[in-house]
Symmetry: C2
Subunit: 538 residues, 2 copies
């Protein structure tokens, strides 16, 4: 179908994979910088991967709706968490989908659901396959399952320039939909780390977090209406700018991770491309003082587009800072008017909390995407991170993240206890020194902030135990999740629940809500075919 | 309990009722202004009201948890729509609650639900009784029912000044909770027309629309977590500034109108009282040109606190304008920094669309609530309107409202067709001239605006057919609702669904969502005691 194929493991396209020599050089650089990471190993090539034979056979009458092609099955078997990438690297695809469904229109989605219901097969929506929470991985024992891939439904169908909204098919990727919107001078301006590969449907199903650090943090805020195919009919809400008519049908689908229906398309709120942008980095000696500045900015009503705080370690690791100071990346943008004044007010707040601002950049009309402000630089580094993870795996560096949100009153204690718990667990399972060269790194940044609290995001890097990476990471992930739930946070601010977060999500959610969700699913999906195991048990 | 009692019909307290002479003068003024309205009639006094004997008897062991006092039953029998006020005025309380439940704590709410389940009685939450959609009225045939009144649960329990959040009991009224927050220098800043009497729990259950014309339009946006009592346990979400963990449990309760559980308390986002406020009225010759200005302002990212557009008729009727020009009331406010600059930008937009701004007022720190800006003046008139409705009923003026939200691309056609449909129906049922003195009035304003569309709010005033007001209004309401649903709007932007909007809500909502909601309710409320008849059929 596409000339260009995604790698069968890890991040990106096959043609983006570094050569062995490039990998060696990267590994040496990583070792020098981090103090750990060994010789590179090589991924098991697709030819050498062995997978179970498909347990399902699609009738020939359905044409090319289904495929059991090996590449397709392997490349849709796992998500993109560290534990997924490691397994893919080692050629461990224990439970690949039996078939891939590639519908071209809604009636073909209906056909897939009906056929799976008749066969007793489960349906796992693939989105862009960028789940880091076990969202696309079948853990269904002997039950056969189909991976539902909407990549053929990738069009912007309608643009309402008056209301700044567009009707977009669920399989459109970030660049795909933004390219189509650009023809109208518009953009969704939703740039999660998954931007290049993930799909609109996946973002809606998982409540993806995006570009804006304040106000419009989640895709939730950009959704005007949703159209989904359920085994019991089409669920389509009206296009409405706001409504008070009962509980929101859209909010019931947003975050439903495919258990209630397959999102086919949505009307989303778009905007003109920003004409005015300013950004500024502000350094702080003390992370908690910087957090105080972020709290005041988030409560000021200034609504910065970017307000991301990196602790000193994270600033150093990513090359955005010296490693001695915390760095606040502030940005304002508007398609309409200059934004110098709110930046000045925000910087005044930062200074009151001990911040030292650098140069304010981009303080004029940008004329499009040509500027290279700190915000854009940061964004490029941010989007490159998942590529780097593949290299980490190859050279024996354990690397993954966890994230949450918590109210300001509890943040300081939470941050201290979560860092302590994870550092201790990492040191234990990695047999690494607690400090100095070769010590594991646990760092924190804020990805989004609210008047009532931040969304802290933690990055862990440590020497991997070759061959034991999955068990090693699972222990760290469990300790991190325990710290998050015990500390009063949410098990996920924008990575979703999937299967990996289930034990902690089950403790977080209100029990009557789980019962209500289970009843709602049983009503719409009586055969339990839709993504069984995420969010709730069948 | 309270020394001061609410009127047994209509709006406000008993001691606020005008004298007969005051009513006569008001009626003469109304007649002069509108060209219709007859001699005043007098309301049936409580003593002369006859109601059915209670079909339920609470066991003495439950103390003062229940009452069958006549005043309590009568005053909780109807909401506050025009059709409710008319019936109350005439002493028609056909289906009063059999008992009023007045729990003092959550365990008493549980007792009420358990006792009603055992008795087969329904439970209708009363909130502040300000429903204009049949939300508090039993239409249950022979089934006995209890009105659940949480007025004893009216405390602000906790204030988190760091996160700007407060834990408040569901029975707290607008002034009650704001008085308690004022001690901390904070405010919820949620001022629906029901502000004086309605409760936090009622606002959450009905998705009330509030003070802010943009951004934080509904109570939905102010809710951090909710605690509700269901027949199958307590539904309590975590306090979180944001989350991506499954569909939002809070959004499932917000707008649920009491069918899933009884909201007992909530953490809500509060804010410091605004120190900086500016407001300005802008006149336009043409309503649609003014709407164009509002569209651009709503898409500008300026986020005005007030952005309410009154058409010429509405501006004239309310005394806010001459009656010749449309009036845009613009306001900006901040607890943090001056807001002159965004006002200037917004006024520049208004001028480009033909608007003529008046004086900008309040362009300095206000030092609290002492200012008398246009915004405050408008607010006072707005809060007085429901009192005036009681006088309208007494002097034979039909008066009520309907409201919706719709995307900008469809607004112009929608506005024309809705106005035409309602004007024609009003003229038909009122036997009134179409134009000139004594003609019915149908006017429009925007209560809230979004980047993708406005929330238009229509007011109807016409000569009432004495004794036939309910039938007269029902015909107009049906025509208006038909126009809203056929035109692509929502049957309610912030008045809720209740029982009056059901036929049109049933057409609006996605069928699979209704099935899911019904299944969720059956799971949590298997005996179907919770507010049967609103939103869905049992």
């Amino acid at each position: 179908m596409n000339a260009r194929r995604l790698k069968h493991w890890g991040w990106g396209y096959e043609d983006q994979a570094p050569s062995k020599e490039e990998l060696r050089q990267a590994a040496a650089g990583i070792r020098e910088r981090l103090g750990f990471g060994g010789e590179i190993e090589e991924a098991v090539p697709l030819d050498a991967v062995e997978i179970r034979a498909s347990r399902l056979k699609a009738p020939g009458s359905l044409g090319d709706l289904f495929t059991d092609d090996k590449y397709e099955r392997v490349s849709r078997a796992l998500g993109k968490a560290y534990r997924d990438v490691v397994r893919g690297f080692r050629g461990e695809f224990e439970n690949p989908p039996d078939l891939i469904a590639l519908p071209k229109d809604e009636s073909e989605i209906e056909t897939v659901l009906a056929w799976c219901e008749a066969e007793g097969a489960a349906v796992i929506p693939f989105g862009g396959g960028t789940s880091v929470v076990g969202g696309v991985e079948g853990r269904l024992g002997e039950r056969p399952f189909v991976s539902l891939d909407l990549r053929r439904l990738d069009r912007v169908l309608e643009v309402d320039a008056s209301s700044l909204a567009a009707r977009i098919q669920a399989g459109a990727t970030g660049p795909g939909l933004d390219d189509q919107l650009r023809e109208h001078g518009l953009t969704l301006r939703h740039f999660p780390q998954s931007f290049e590969y993930a799909t609109l449907g996946g973002w809606i199903a998982t409540r993806a977090g995006g570009h804006f650090a304040t106000l419009y943090t989640h895709i939730d805020d950009l959704v005007e209406s949703v159209r989904a195919i359920t085994p019991r009919g089409t669920w389509e809400s009206r296009r409405l700018p706001g409504s008070g008519a009962g509980p929101s049908p859209d909010r019931a689908l947003i975050g439903s991770e495919g258990i209630l229906g397959t999102i086919a398309e949505a009307w989303v709120r778009v905007r003109p491309r920003p004409e005015f942008k300013v950004s500024c980095g502000v350094e702080f000696d003390d992370f908690l003082a910087a957090a105080g500045a972020v709290r005041e900015i988030s409560q000021s009503g200034l609504h910065p587009a970017n307000c991301r705080l990196l602790d000193a370690l994270e600033a150093g690791t990513t090359g955005a800072g010296s490693g001695e100071k915390s760095l606040l990346v502030l940005g304002f943008e508007s398609p309409h008017h200059p934004v110098d004044a709110p930046m000045e007010t925000a910087l005044a707040i930062a200074r009151e909390h001990g911040g030292v601002p650098g140069e304010v950049r981009g303080n004029k009309p940008t004329g499009g995407d040509a500027d290279a402000s700190a915000v854009e630089t940061w964004r490029n580094a941010f989007l490159f991170a998942p590529y780097l993870r593949d290299t980490f795996v190859a050279c024996g560096v354990l690397s993954d993240t966890f994230e949450t949100a918590i109210t300001w009153d509890r943040f300081e204690d939470f941050h201290a206890s979560a860092m302590d718990a994870v550092r201790a667990k990492v040191a234990e399972v990695c047999n690494a020194p607690a400090e100095g060269p070769g010590a594991p790194r646990v760092s924190c940044r804020f990805t989004h902030v609210y008047p009532d609290g931040p969304a802290p995001y933690f990055t862990v890097m440590a020497p991997a135990v070759r061959g034991g990476e999955v068990e090693q990471w699972d222990e760290i992930k469990a300790a991190a999740s325990e710290a998050v739930i015990e500390g009063g946070g949410t098990i996920t601010h924008h990575h979703a629940v999937g299967r990996d977060h289930r034990p902690w999500y089950d403790r977080q959610r209100p029990a009557p809500f789980a019962a209500a969700l289970r009843a709602a699913k049983a009503e719409l999906d009586p055969s339990g075919i839709l993504n069984p195991g995420v969010l709730i048990d069948p």
